[in-house]
Assembly symmetry: C2
Homo-oligomer: 376 residues x 2
């Protein structure tokens, strides 16, 4: 165990903590923007720092394909390659076992993928994945697992969870302890309470630096996701960070923090930004909608992001989107990431100030109100 | 005449000056990045300021179509709409009379375009163009002219030049004098010395704030372009800025400044940036070329742009381009604009220091050397 996590405050089950790493500290609850290929699409690292991003996530599977291990290694790791000085967490490729299942074949030792780029064969197993993440100089490595789809039969979920556990053991074995670096275990077991319990209890024995809930945000919906978190969280150790993988909407994040989750990653703020979708305190809007053509307000009047602070209007953003200028994507992505980071920071402060329920309920209520239309 | 131009230094025929406008000062020689639709594609105004951009160019024709006059007017002008506080120059739509000639019809009073968006009819004439540019709050308006293609017969070129002159008279009439705002005349006459001379001499009578050479950079090539500039420049007044429209490559700029040109605009640094083409002190390169995959040097080791200064490698830029991340376009565009602005600034300093020939010859020589390949 080589990452230091300190739980600083609690309000109910909601937790505020800090993780010290070789590449900087991460305040929790934390949200990690996704930089699959070693770039948060369209956004410069300095812009992420200004927003207050502590840590970003990248994907082992994609980086193995492009640009490949050698290039990243020769650059001195992914952080140097992309010019990001803070911590990074790399997903192990386990999610792609599910998402690319049509092009992959699982056996006891690992997974063989057929590359979607050139049809070539690509092998991942615990040893390869963990060594790959080390070559990326990843601050937090994830064990190599099999992410299960939703829905899945109990027996299949159990069999898969057992396989993931054996891979977790191997992953731990191949992970080189280094000061300020860590490795997280991934809990599987789909929606089945006893499988999740079994998975957690066994993973605890392996003494990971943190535990993640995997196999969620795969189509089960908000209620089931919250239910699984609720049923699992009681078995999690108190002194380790808890990471809910791939989640989610602002509402998902608020309710999961309430249950005791510390870390999140999700493509929503970035991917949505590129398609015109905007997160504001008062719900979501799509800037492509014709009604924004003559709306000269900023996206969110109270927002302090670089875009709203300089009064970029909805009208201008609608125009940029209309003419297909990538500046639309950039501005919306910056705003959306800021929205998520501000949300998580507000939540963190409310935990410290012991008014989490009040703050989070107000945020949920405002969010449900929706955007205030212009008077005609 | 409501713009103040001060000629500060001369070295041979090369000139260093300053234009004071209502929206800030422009040091000449000046290069104007192109923001056709009210955005330099992918680049935030603050980034342009950091590079040292004094003034940007936008296009009346395109902005009329999208977002249209009303939106820009209601935003308080184009500068407010796009969040750019410095001066802007707007092209009048005259270039589109040529570039969209298949969809336009010229008569004595003006031009009727068929919109390439929805087939609707769009009318431009001196009155509409000048009033449109006023509604954009354009710092420097251009007269509405007919840009001629290359090659063109003498008689047609003459007829067109005469029409452009009549439109110049009307444009001047419809231009509202305002302190710190100006209007430039546009010289036509294709490659014909006597037509250019006639055009300039008549335009001088109308007392514009500056004169532009139009109808170049339309396929005539470097030598003919330089020849036309050389044959025209002697008739230009000394006390007004001279703008060579749509030009060009670094070499074109250096040689035109040598002849006495003060202002330039060109899509090259921006458009090229989006297709992987990079301008460096040692010539051009295309980042998509496979040899850059393992080239860990910055684009230009001596470059002080935001991208090279933070050591973004050719390898990373090749990767970004390969995965189709818009961050590649952004980084290359930033670098290219910086290259142009640094070039123009170096030239300006050399005029002040009376060593223009030495500096410009060294730049041309270095440029011809080409990029230094990595040793294998």
């Amino acid at each position: 165990m080589t990452l230091s996590f300190k739980l600083q405050h609690k309000d109910g089950n909601a937790r505020a903590g800090i993780i010290h790493t070789a590449h900087g500290t991460i305040e929790t609850p934390a949200f990690m923007p996704v930089g699959t290929y070693g770039a948060v699409k369209g956004i410069q690292p300095e812009e992420l720092i200004k927003i207050g991003v502590n840590i970003i996530l990248a994907n082992t599977y994609h980086l193995m394909e492009r640009p490949g291990k050698v290039i990243i290694e020769k650059s001195g790791g992914l952080r140097k390659f992309m010019g990001w000085q803070g911590p990074i967490l790399t997903d192990s490729g386990g999610f792609q076992v599910m998402s690319l299942s049509k092009m992959s074949k699982v056996d006891e030792e690992g997974v063989t993928f057929k590359s979607h780029l050139d049809g070539s064969s690509l092998r991942l197993n615990p040893e390869i994945s963990i060594k790959m993440q080390k070559s990326f100089d990843s601050t937090i490595s994830m064990i190599f697992d099999e992410c299960t789809p939703y829905p899945i039969d109990y027996e299949l979920a159990k069999k898969s969870m057992r396989l993931s556990f054996r891979w977790a053991e191997k992953s731990k074995k191949y992970f080189d302890d280094r000061n300020g670096y860590g490795i997280f275990g991934i809990v599987q077991g789909s929606i089945y309470k006893d499988l999740r319990e079994e998975s957690i209890k066994e993973l605890i024995q392996l003494n990971f630096d943190g535990l993640a809930l995997g196999g969620l945000a795969v189509g089960e919906g908000h209620e089931i996701m919250v239910e699984v978190v609720k049923n699992s969280i009681e078995y999690f150790p108190l002194d380790k960070p808890r990471y809910l993988m791939g989640v989610g909407y602002p509402k998902d994040i608020i309710e999961s923090v309430k249950l005791g989750i510390d870390m999140f990653d999700c493509v929503l703020p970035t991917r949505s930004g590129r398609t015109g979708k905007v997160f504001t305190k008062y719900g979501e809007l799509n800037i492509k909608n014709a009604k924004y053509k003559k709306d000269f307000r900023p996206l969110d009047i109270k927002c302090k992001c670089a875009v709203c602070a300089k009064n970029v209007s909805r009208s201008y953003l609608h125009h940029l989107s209309n003419i297909g200028d990538m500046l639309a994507s950039i501005y919306l992505t910056l705003h959306n990431i800021n929205h998520y980071i501000e949300l998580i920071s507000d939540i963190r402060n409310s935990i410290i100030n012991k008014n989490f329920d009040e703050v989070s309920e107000k945020r949920l209520k405002d969010y449900q109100k929706g955007d205030i239309d212009l008077e005609n």
